[in-house]
């Protein structure tokens, strides 16, 4: 991507880079390898020493060469390779086992090459930071607003006067609101450093109400050195204001975290709310059904490696079917002989859970497997600079609610829902009323298992997928179902969300371990007040 740099600003940027470069050169010369020209720098890029590479990056950045930005971006993205044969820099994109090569400088196609013929130019953390700064400088004037935005973000709070000047220039032309925000903020931060009181005050004024951490840090810095009482006063006020807004946002964030944790609990528990809550099967293999769902996601992704973004849409029905069929299998071969003996279902399903775990260990592997997040599940929705909701959590929260309502409809509005409740309450009588209890049991257990599988898809996006993963959820799931009131779907929802939020409210001051303990103690005490959970079955039939 060639970058057009208007001349007058080009000068500024060049001088900025020259300055950076001077710094670099002195460092590098200390290490004895003088680097000067763009071309020479290119060769140095493939040097194994990070120090030499760093110096080369500085030179390339400062060269003013129009190809520099693209080159550095490729380097940062890990696409820049060196061809062993002629030490030429090439851009690499994978194609069916081999690599497709393009010339790093002019973009011309160079055909295919095997993996052995090229070698990636490794970068380290420090270089990554360096590249980001350099690229920012080179792209602040990019025509692409997204690129400019990234550049502006990167430059935020940089006290370098040259950078400030570049920002000031860009701001004159900038039309994008977000970019302007960042640029203005940078300038305001610069204002704080100004010797003139009114400029500092202007800076404070502009920063007041900004949620960017840089704003608060700038004020803090100012306050640590400032002597002018008027400025101090203004800065104090601005800081208090910012802190208050930030803590509001933090509260919102905590609530979101709680709901999100709660939604995970709900998802994990909801299948159990059916198999255990409605059917009365103490299903210790519930966790393993979740695991099966997660492994299904893994296998689906293995089968469609180039379509990861769509994989979940395949995985959700697939996991539902696979786990559901497994549930039906378990029901038909074992559980159906145990109705009326609920405690023995605990025994048998515990055995089944051991078998399923070991089955995964022997057929797939004892190690965790990697499930990828589709790009739309990655990153976060930035509400404001102090509040971002991660997409994965957000979608899973929504997903949990969808699953919940779907189940609610099935149980309350369909014949199956009515029949399963009747069977659970009085099997013989239900059969006498023509309810095919065997079919109802199989379908219902399959439904509960399938929902567990679907939960597994969601969980695979958040946590590890391995043979033990089911064990991590079984205790919590039972807790949620029971806390909510056995047999009450709403109870499961409310209980899950409540426990999630309670946990997250306590975590900041109690720590993760103690918070969990406190939640457990809270449940134990709460049950004393409501011995049948949040939403108990009431009436004559229930007591006794």
């Amino acid at each position: 991507m060639p970058t057009r740099i208007p001349l007058h600003r080009g000068i500024w940027i060049s001088s900025l880079l020259v300055l950076l470069c001077l710094f670099a050169v002195t460092r590098v010369s200390a290490e004895g390898s003088e680097t000067v020209s763009f071309e020479a720098a290119l060769i140095d890029l493939s040097d194994p020493s990070f120090a030499v590479k760093q110096a080369a990056v500085d030179v390339i950045a400062a060269s003013g060469d129009p190809r520099a930005a693209a080159l550095l971006q490729a380097l940062a993205a890990g696409q820049l390779y060196v061809r062993d044969a002629d030490r030429a820099l090439v851009l690499v994109s994978p194609s069916a086992g081999d690599y497709r090569l393009r010339d790093a400088l002019d973009g011309s196609e160079l055909g295919e090459a095997s993996r052995r013929e090229v070698k990636k130019i490794a970068i380290n953390n420090r270089m990554r930071t360096q590249l980001r700064t350099a690229i920012a400088a080179l792209t602040l004037a990019s025509p692409d607003p997204a690129v400019r935005l990234r550049a502006a973000q990167q430059m935020l709070g940089d006290p370098n006067p040259l950078v400030i000047q570049a920002i000031r220039d860009q701001l004159e032309e900038e039309e994008n609101r977000q970019v302007r925000d960042y640029l203005t903020l940078s300038l305001a931060l610069a204002d704080l450093q100004d010797p003139a009181t009114e400029i500092r005050l202007r800076g404070i004024d502009r920063l007041s109400g900004s949620l960017y951490p840089a704003a608060r840090n700038g004020l803090n810095r100012l306050l640590s050195a400032e002597t002018d009482p008027e400025v101090r006063d203004a800065a104090e006020r601005a800081r208090t204001h910012i802190e208050r807004m930030r803590s509001l946002n933090e509260a919102a964030e905590t609530l979101f975290f709680g709901l999100s944790l709660g939604s995970v609990l709900v998802l994990a528990a909801i299948g159990l709310a059916i198999t255990f809550g409605v059917m009365g099967v103490i299903n210790m293999a519930h966790g393993e059904l979740i695991m099966i769902g997660a492994y299904t996601t893994y296998l689906v992704q293995q089968a469609m490696p180039h379509w990861i973004d769509y994989s979940l849409f395949v995985a959700i029905p697939a996991a539902f079917i696979v786990a559901g069929l497994m549930g039906i299998l378990i029901e038909r071969t074992v559980i159906r002989f145990l109705y009326g003996r609920p405690l023995e279902t605990l025994l048998a399903t515990f055995g089944i859970s051991l078998i399923l775990q070991q089955l995964v260990r022997t057929t797939i592997s004892a190690q965790n497997v990697a499930v990828q997040n589709p790009s739309w599940m990655s990153g976060s929705l930035q509400i404001n600079p102090a509040l971002a909701l991660t997409y994965s959590r957000l979608y899973i929260l929504i997903f949990a609610l969808l699953v919940f309502f779907a189940l609610l409809v099935i149980l309350k509005r369909t014949a199956l829902g009515l029949q399963v409740r009747a069977v659970a309450q009085n099997r013989a009588m239900a059969r006498s009323m023509g309810v095919r209890s065997g079919r109802v049991d199989a379908l219902t257990f399959g439904l509960g298992a399938g929902v567990a599988g679907v939960a597994g898809v969601a969980l695979s996006q958040l946590t590890n997928v391995g043979p033990n993963m089911g064990q991590a959820y079984i205790i919590d799931s039972f807790m949620v179902v029971v806390f909510g009131g056995v047999g009450n779907l709403w109870g499961t929802l409310v209980a899950g969300l409540t426990l999630g939020v309670a946990n997250k409210l306590m975590e900041p001051w109690a720590g993760a371990v103690l918070a969990k303990i406190l939640v457990l103690v809270f449940i134990i005490l709460f049950i004393q007040k409501r011995p049948r959970g949040l939403f108990p079955q009431r009436g004559r039939a229930a007591d006794g």
Partner: protein, 231 residues
């Protein structure tokens, strides 16, 4: 309608029903009588398919029931009002009634309206949980529930138990009316002689699991009663 022959039933090791041969004639009400614990309920449960037989056959309209599950028998039109009501306690009254709809031959999705004429109390209590009803209300619900599947053969195990006198009376009338209106055959287990005499056409007397006597109701003499029904 239903021909029971050579029926034997065991609870574990204990032989409860012995070589029963009973014929239920269509369109009639047969009353099964006997002291406590002689096996009346056991017989009903065998007919319904809730208990396994040791031996014997149950021929229902020419079809052997012995191999069929209870749910199949229900959809063949055998309705069951069990002793002790067996209401689904946590389902609402309406749901208790709806549950039988699936077994109706006409696949109707509506609870037949005549039920509420028979048992108005149910109409007022549609949304109440079955388990909360009073004993007598539950009994009415149990009868109503069995009617929902549109039965051809209705098994009533002590249906008047715990029901207020005027409704007992009515139930008697209802049974007779249903028999004519709906072409029902009825098997009734009943201890109350006056009621049995009023409602039934035939009687069957059991003692300790064995068939003792059978015949038309007028043949139910005091001697028979004294011999088999008193303690």
């Amino acid at each position: 309608m239903l021909q029971i022959s050579g029926l034997n039933q065991f609870y574990g090791e204990s032989h409860t029903l012995w070589d029963l041969d009973i014929e239920i004639t269509p369109g009639e009400c047969t009353c099964v009588m006997g002291r406590n614990g002689v096996g009346k309920t056991t017989l009903m449960q065998c007919i319904m398919g809730l208990l396994p037989l040791r031996s014997g056959s149950l021929l229902y309209r020419g079809q052997d029931l012995a191999k069929l599950s209870a749910e199949r028998r229900a959809s063949l039109g055998i309705g069951y009002v069990p002793q002790g009501r067996q209401i689904f306690p946590l389902l609402s009254v309406e749901e208790n009634l709806r549950i039988g709809l699936g077994a109706r031959p006409d696949r109707s999705k509506q609870i037949p309206g005549y039920l509420f004429e028979l048992f108005p109390v149910l109409k007022d209590m549609l949304q109440r949980r079955g388990g909360d009803l009073s004993g007598g209300q539950q009994q009415q619900l149990a009868i109503g529930r069995a009617l929902v599947i549109d039965p051809k053969l209705l098994i009533l195990d002590e249906p008047t138990e715990g029901i207020q006198p005027n409704i007992v009376h009515e139930i008697g009338d209802i049974i007779r009316r249903l028999m004519t209106d709906l072409d029902l055959t009825v098997i009734l287990v009943e201890q109350k002689l006056p009621f049995a005499r009023r409602v039934a056409d035939r009687f069957v007397i059991l003692d300790r699991g064995r068939l003792m006597a059978t015949g038309a109701i007028p043949e139910l003499t005091d001697a028979l009663v004294k011999q088999h029904l008193s303690v």
